[in-house]
Symmetry: C2
Subunit: 357 residues, 2 copies
DNA sequence: TGTTAGCACTCACCTTAGTAGAGTGCTAAT
DNA sequence: ATTAGCACTCTACTAAGGTGAGTGCTAACA
């Protein structure tokens, strides 16, 4: 990945990337000579541009136009050349305000964070609802709604509340529910949430009525836990439509379609969660550029992805998706700050390490 | 609104609307004469078209082009001319399958319904989470998470489970929570959910610790109930981008932006909920065409809106948004069928009338 | 030897002009 | 009352020419 560029070539590459990000127009030698104070004539710059193109860092839409950074060009820019700005106070303020809405539900805070993130970065913000394998059941309860329906409520040590509507075949009375709640609480307390399904399947009481109910709960949870687990919050998809690279109607449609199908469980979430789970050192966000994402629909996009955490056990992926021609420095700085902010905020509220059990 | 059109004029208007909906191209007299079996020459049709234009039912993009239906033209079409097709069995099947995913959470079923609805109608589907003023509190519980955080769980007679994370200033022990839970349960059981906030504010125990906790719960609920109340599920927004009328990038962007900001609580939801609440006889969906919606961003769109119900007490708005050039008949039929399907499905599960209290 | 001025060349983009075609309104004939 | 015929209008498409931004190459220069 190293190219042994001369200092001058680096300067030129930097100028081209910055200019192209700002204008979305191919950058010519004259433009650089004039706008950027490199003290070089267009001819000299042309020579270096030709070499940068040979190295695969730049491309040319057609033979007599200016240059555009290639994926590799952006890669080099991100790894060696760009500066990461410090965020403005007003930006930080916006993030802190998420906390100020007093105490709220987990979902509300993640939702708000995604909104702020997309607004500040002008990209699409993606935040996964946190997952944990140290999350365990703290409270388990069946509540009857009517004669053949009840709600199953599962509360974990992290404060997440899951609920499932369950229908029964036979009508049962209210006393029955407090009995079985007592029984199941005893069985399930402390069970890791990831293990709940299996455990429910394993319990056999021998009592026909109990076992029927257990079977119903099992089915309901099977369908719903996965639905909730893969949930991600997406905000700012319309930001992409602003960009000239998505001008053509068909491109815009196919991209929005990709986002939408994925809103809950398909394409986009799968991609996002899959990439998130491969991150090794999760503390710093990584940048994937264009084809590096390996999804054809996103080959004109870049993804900055990292993860936030709640205490030491819980974590979720968080990322930004924009055109390859995105503001990498600002976006990265914004994402990092949001990771800090969100981690702090949620750790403060949900951290399980100071749990009294 | 009556125009006393001759039968022939009605036929011509019908042909123009159908053709324009199918092709998105202005319709000329020759086209009608050829494609539709009216037994009339183009000249005759032209005379009637001129009159229909005088009446405001048609417009002309420019002086030598064919005609396009105006909002009023669509209005007439919808009210007097169109046929409502019977749905195909495969369409009905898709709706019934929502039920087959076994028992599920309310949100999951509404989400699924919105997806199916948008897919079948090729429009944007909007479904509000059901509201009720006969919904009352059936279960109220505080559960500690760690030494200064607890979850408030509120379950209503309809099976809806609300939960709120609440922080306390002082640390309190576990026994304290079961005491206050007992106290509050006694106070709040049977309280209409719409009245919960006020009631919490009114309770003054005189006990300093209790009152602090009550104040915290009050604040948390204040912020969150409204967030949950206005929630609507939106699906199929990208369907609109397919249509030629939203070809221009800027239009597409402003429209998607309108949808997105509104995803949870602003523009689109407000509009949708406001219109929903003005419906008098909610049993049949109504059609709003173009400017009738009275939202500038949606002046090229039509909205079909109705409401579904759960038993007799709960109801929510449900609607379809498409270009004015949408398939009114098919969309209306689809929406009506979905209303039946969803109402049945949810009434079956959640109906409170056979509640044992 | 690295840098730059000069020059011929390329190619997208814009403007202009011309043409084809779909559609209209009007008039006169049926 | 209906329709055939005709002159007219306006968009959409195409071709041609001009403009300008940009390039690569060569030769001169410091």
């Amino acid at each position: 990945m190293e190219f042994n560029l001369t200092q001058r070539q680096q300067n030129i590459l930097l100028a081209i990337v910055l200019d192209y990000i700002a204008t979305a127009e191919p950058v010519g030698s004259r433009t650089i000579s004039k706008k950027y104070d490199l003290g070089l004539s267009p001819a000299t710059i042309r020579n270096d541009m030709a070499e940068l193109e040979d190295l695969g860092l730049l491309t040319q839409p057609h033979s007599s136009s200016g240059r555009i950074p290639s994926d590799l060009g952006y890669r080099n820019f991100v790894d060696y050349l760009m500066e990461k700005p410090t965020l403005s106070n007003s930006d930080k303020e916006l993030m802190k305000n998420i906390r100020n809405n007093n105490t709220s539900s987990l979902e509300f805070m993640i939702d708000q964070s995604a909104r702020v993130l997309s607004a500040l970065s002008n990209t699409v913000a993606l935040i996964q609802v946190p997952e944990s394998n140290k999350e365990f059941i703290k409270h388990f309860q069946l509540l009857p709604i009517n004669e053949n329906t009840f709600v199953t409520i599962v509360v974990t040590n992290t404060g997440k509340v899951h609920n499932f509507i369950v229908k029964t075949d036979k009508t049962v009375n209210e006393g029955f529910f407090s009995n079985i709640t007592g029984y199941l609480t005893e069985q399930l307390l402390g069970t890791p949430i990831s293990n709940l399904q299996k455990k429910l399947n394993d319990i056999i009481t021998g009592n026909q009525e109990y076992d029927n109910i257990l079977r119903s709960i099992y089915n309901s949870i099977k369908n719903n836990l996965s639905y909730e687990k893969n949930k991600i919050y997406v905000s700012g998809t319309s930001n992409l439509l602003k960009e000239p690279e998505f001008n053509e109607n068909q491109k815009a449609h196919s991209l929005m379609n990709f986002f939408e199908i994925g809103e809950k469980q398909n394409e986009l979430s799968n991609v996002f969660l899959a990439i998130g789970s491969t991150l090794i050192d999760k503390s710093d966000p990584i940048v994937l550029i264009g084809k590096e994402i390996k999804i054809s629909q996103l080959e004109n996009c870049s993804l900055i992805i990292g993860s936030y955490n709640i205490g030491e056990d819980l974590s979720g992926s968080i990322g930004l998706l924009g055109p390859t021609r995105m503001q990498y420095g600002k976006s990265l700085a914004t994402l990092e700050e949001m990771i800090k902010n969100l981690s702090n905020l949620l750790t403060n509220i949900y951290d399980v390490s100071n749990n009294f059990e």
